[in-house]
Amino acid sequence: MGYSLNFAAVWRSFDLLLEGLALSLGLAFAAILVGCVIGLATAFGLVSKNIAFRKPAGLYVTVIRNTPILVLVLFSYFALPQLGVRLGKIESFVLTLAIYSGAYLAEVFRGGLLSVPPGQREAGLAIGLTEMQIRTSIILPLMLRNVLPSLSSTMISLFKDTSLAAAIAVPELTFEARKINVETFRVIETWIVASCLYVATCSVLAALLRAVERRLAVPR
């Protein structure tokens, strides 16, 4: 038990951790952005009356949600090049996380779509709006408000999933922390600081999303 805490070595490399954190945020942002587009399209597929949309959407969600993300990350980085698809570490990871988040977000959005009462669409039709106008002016804004709470927790867990990029040596927060750990042997300090950075970032993210939620709340 002769371990005495000494953060000095970690502080010296703190800028590396911050750079890692910045990259983590960048990875998450890019992946979630693409994931939202995939998720939204897939959600419309999942609730579609047309089996040609519903089946592929369902298959995608099932396959991706039932595969561990680490396996997906390793697959796209190590296996895809064998199949002729060669991507950089960062591109490979962003793509993987985007596809992974798309499947989760699709389920979130699907629930949101189902939560909009059918009468809303009918009221839109009755005044002569097209299906597309109804989607953009009525369904999406209502759906977004309904899904914000679960969207927020999904986004936070996707942000934390960026730590898996360390497995393919993407220099994000976890990878940098491991490097500092190896170089300084300050095991406890390094991982405490890294954890604190994750917690702080997630808290800020959650607060931001709660603010959006309050901002969009419909007065009653």
């Binding site: 009221a123 839109g124 009755a126 002569g128 097209t130 009525i138 209502l142 419909v218 007065p219 009653r220």
Partner: protein, 256 residues
């Protein structure tokens, strides 16, 4: 002569194997106010919803101002018109729903403005002033920047009527618009509808308010098991029903 506005010919509607409309014929002139009454399941709401294609129908035809609604026959094959064309046709009618169906994320004014901007192509300012005019007409000018959740049921339904009317439809469809309201809020909505009737608006009302149907309608249609059971002048129909079914219905619906 008054002009024919709506012409329904041999309308058939099935849900799977269940036929809910078994050949409905109805002609309506400009400016008529027709109440459709009948017990639940008689097909009255379904008939109304076919007129603006909220329901598909499998046989017969509906014409508004001579235009065939929803379907066209090309080379002997009946097919649904294009979505854009149906949307344009739907804008010829306005509809008020039992559950109001206001857009909850928009203020009363924006509820009315949405169709004016997106369908009628008005600019924001013009749409706003049209919305003002109609919200004033239903007595809610002071509530125009309130959200539906901040309004009573009766107020919400009046906004919904303003939203439909502002689009300047040829025909208004009212689908049991007072059924979801607390009794003390029913009257304010009926007064609005009565005012529209007095202005000469053509209206089809599915209603359970027999007293109101009696007072406001130029004609009453009694639906019975997917067909028109009886129709005519409310004064004659309510006092001297010709069929046993209508007599029973009137007795059970506490018209007196």
């Amino acid at each position: 002569m008054t002009q024919t506005l709506l012409e329904i010919r041999d309308l058939h509607k099935r849900y799977g194997a269940v036929e809910v409309l078994k050949g409905v014929d109805c002609t309506m002139a400009q400016g008529e106010v027709i109440s459709i009454i009948g017990s639940s399941g008689s097909g009255k709401t379904t008939m109304l919803r076919c007129i603006n294609m909220l329901e598909e129908f499998q046989g017969g035809s509906i014409r508004i101002d001579g235009q065939e609604i929803g379907y066209e026959t090309v080379g002997g094959v009946r097919r649904r018109k294009k979505e854009k064309e149906i949307a344009r046709q739907r804008a010829m009618t306005g509809m008020a729903f039992q559950q109001f169906n206001l857009f909850p994320h928009m203020t009363a004014a924006r509820n009315v403005m949405l169709g004016l901007i997106k369908v009628r192509g008005m600019g924001r300012d013009e749409a706003r002033s049209v919305a003002e005019k109609w919200l004033d007409r239903v007595g809610l000018l002071s509530r125009m920047d309130h959200y539906p959740g901040q309004l009573s049921g009766g107020q919400q339904q009046r906004v919904a009527i303003a939203r439909a009317i502002a689009m300047n439809p040829k025909l208004m469809l009212f689908d049991e618009v007072t059924s979801a309201l607390d009794p003390e809020l029913v009257n304010e909505v009926l007064q609005v509808i009565k005012g529209l009737a007095e202005d000469g608006m053509s209206m089809l009302l599915v209603t359970h308010e027999m007293r109101f149907a009696y007072e406001v309608s130029t004609r009453v249609i009694f639906m019975n098991q997917g067909r028109i059971g009886e129709e005519g002048n409310p004064r004659e129909m309510f006092v001297k029903p010709q069929t046993k079914r209508l007599a029973e219905f009137l007795k059970s619906s506490s018209f007196n």
